[in-house]
Subunit: 423 residues, 2 copies
């Protein structure tokens, strides 16, 4: 008898009918002889509606109360799911984050899990019941206050429970069939991956792939939890996200190149005419750090021998761009530069695959494909298993397709995208 943790996103429990469908799937899994623990998100847009309500009340809602408010969404869906399962004749019990022993630090809105003590969940399983746990939430032992885990929190809840309970697999149900070689919405020929290493999944998530949240993947990798990303709208097998300790089981099956991710959320800041003397870059990036912005790529071009000045460009989240630009401008004199420019219409495309380690020529093939398509590369960064390039925003779709084809990732069939609001 194996233990399976299942996570259902908001689109999978959007209304009473969807909740009943999920209940049937949970019951099937139980009847197949497995212990089942379910982590569930809030119904459809509930969380967004609660957030709207909070902003009607206060411009900056109190963080503690905000968590108290938004955690009600998962409590509604978990109670309804437990009712639906009981209505099918199976025993089920729902637990809030604190009842399930999801202990976090005190960072309201973005709490980190510090301990998981699922005593009551374990009791429920021992008594043959299905345990339903509210995703996205925990509580802080010191303040005894309710906390939330931030974006993708329900995925993290599921992974944390799977780790604490020693589950055989953590199934993440969403509204697509699994992890794709590219976003099917812009690459219709993207194909579903049967297997991907957690390392590749991390790179894809970090490069803009939306299907899994990076924190949950990191947690699963650290804790050695095998993920199975699949659709709650079909019975198809999804994508197995495996860890190094189980590589031999899956690696042979896995593709050399996992896929292509794109990301339109970045902006570029260029500081031209910076004196090419030691400490200038340090000064600039200290200012950026003080603004709490995460820099993604950096390019510093070789300085002209005669002028002894250089240009520094870097990318960062659009949301932080203006703030950082102003900070640099205001503290500009201590740096000394000729001009400062913000470019927002850029896009990042990343090719990810552990095969890069052993296959030479991947970079060459990528650049050739883009050149043949007449697409200019603005910036480049690489990791051991990833190549990312920056190009104009309006060329991202074309570039992604070109790369997808060049690396033989195109599937035969068109990828099916199911209805639903996403995660």
């Amino acid at each position: 008898m194996s233990l399976i943790v299942q996570k259902y996103g908001g689109s999978s429990v959007a209304d009473a009918e969807s909740i009943k469908r999920v209940a049937r799937r949970v019951v099937e899994t139980r009847k197949a002889g497995n212990d089942v623990v379910v982590a569930v998100s809030a119904m459809g847009d509930t969380t967004d509606d609660l957030i709207d309500l909070a902003h009607q009340i206060a411009t900056i809602p109190d963080a503690r109360e905000f968590d108290m408010l938004v955690t009600t969404g998962e409590r509604v869906s978990m109670a309804l799911l437990a009712m639906a399962i009981k209505d099918l004749g199976m025993d089920a019990r729902s637990y809030t984050g604190s009842q399930a022993g999801m202990i976090t630090d005190s960072t309201h809105g973005d709490a980190r899990i510090v301990d998981v003590t699922p005593v009551r969940v374990r009791e429920a399983l021992d008594e043959g019941a299905i345990a339903i746990v509210a995703g996205f939430q925990g509580f802080n032992r010191d303040s005894k206050d309710i906390t939330t885990l931030g974006r993708g929190g329900s995925d993290t809840t599921a992974v944390a429970l799977a780790a604490a309970l020693g589950a055989d697999v953590c199934e993440i149900y969403t509204d697509v069939d699994g992890v794709f070689s590219a976003d099917p919405r812009i690459v219709p020929k993207a194909h579903k991956l049967n297997y991907i290493s957690s390392e590749e999944m991390l790179e894809l998530a970090a490069s803009g792939a939306k299907v899994l949240h990076i924190r949950a993947v990191e947690y699963a990798r650290r804790q050695g939890v095998t993920l199975h990303v699949r659709s709650s709208f079909s019975d198809h097998e999804g994508t197995i996200v495996y860890n190094p300790d189980r590589a031999e089981e899956y690696e042979v099956e896995a593709a050399m190149i996992a896929g292509v991710a794109h990301d339109l959320s970045q902006a570029k800041i260029t500081i031209a005419g910076v004196p090419d003397v030691p400490g200038k870059a340090a000064a600039i990036f200290t200012i950026v750090a003080e603004q709490g912005a995460n820099i993604d790529m950096i390019v510093q071009n070789v300085s002209e021998q005669d002028t002894k000045v250089t240009d520094i460009s870097f990318t960062l989240p659009k949301a932080d761009a203006q703030r950082v630009l102003d900070a640099i401008a205001s503290e500009g004199e201590q740096i000394g530069y000729a001009s400062l420019r913000l470019t927002e219409d850029i896009g990042k495309i990343s090719l990810v695959g552990s095969g890069m380690r052993t296959n030479i020529g991947v970079t060459a093939k990528l650049f050739t494909a883009l050149k043949d398509a007449g697409i200019n590369i603005d910036m480049i960064s690489t990791s051991e298993i990833r190549i990312s390039i920056i190009t104009q925003a309006d060329l991202v779709t074309e570039a992604t397709r070109v790369i997808h084809t060049a690396f033989d990732l195109d599937g035969d069939a068109e990828a099916v995208v199911y209805a639903g609001t996403g995660r």
Copy 2:
């Protein structure tokens, strides 16, 4: 510095604007130099919506999960109210029933409070904060499960907190100005009572007056909590519901006759031709008791000397009537009767006032008034401070007005009824 517990019903926190208005009132009370604890109901129809959802999921929703579900309503409103108060620059913290130490038995849906340990509420007050508590909910110490207090639960929460904290007064905010001498919706000249004894309030609530729930009044009486029923839509003084221990303060101010209540929720069952031998009535009312129905009035008319049979009539909640009727019919032979009749179009009118103890002729005046109006009395029952009569449903409005006038209860002005869905 006094401690005031305030309770706001669903119509008082129906939307963001209402919640802000309530927040302003709470802050005013705090700024006036009082410690303030607030018990709050769910916003508007939230609870009904959650109940609908539960019934879309399961015909008979699991009781534990049902409580888990519906308690989210108060958590939303309490968090929003705390945000609104903080937005006004005052410190506020919201607490769930369990965080506030509202310990109950394990009767889901209708739990009884067994202990109140508001440690965190007290801490919040000591630190100068306003404490907001989710009404209607508690938790069971043994099962560690969330429970609900049944109808009027938020009133009970407020009263229980007031008792446990030794509050000076418990203010129950609703959408009318206070307790009226009759339902202003059917007696436009009903006037607001400034003072009423908890004993009279109990009789009025038991006789159909909706403004306060009987369980909360009982709790307040038992614990010696003074209630102040008032409107959250105006600044008018409301109605003080006082207990025997403070009678001397208020009694002189209180009226001899408190008011007239009406109740259309009862039905009447008449069993005709019952042999007038010992044990028959006992047999009948045992059957009724087995059906869990509460009998209100009973009339057994004197049996004819010759026939030695009698008729027995009693009233009970409409909801139980058919079930009880069937039970009597099925076990009828052991009783032996001529006919069985269910009458649903009846209404009860009750005149309540502690003055009845000392004033003779109240009954005579009541009957005369009804006779003059040509209204037939079907059944009668009295307590020390109440006279109730049963008449045809379609005569209830007229009868209530006639009695209201006969006992000089008519006010000069028309009673103002504020917008809102009631409690």
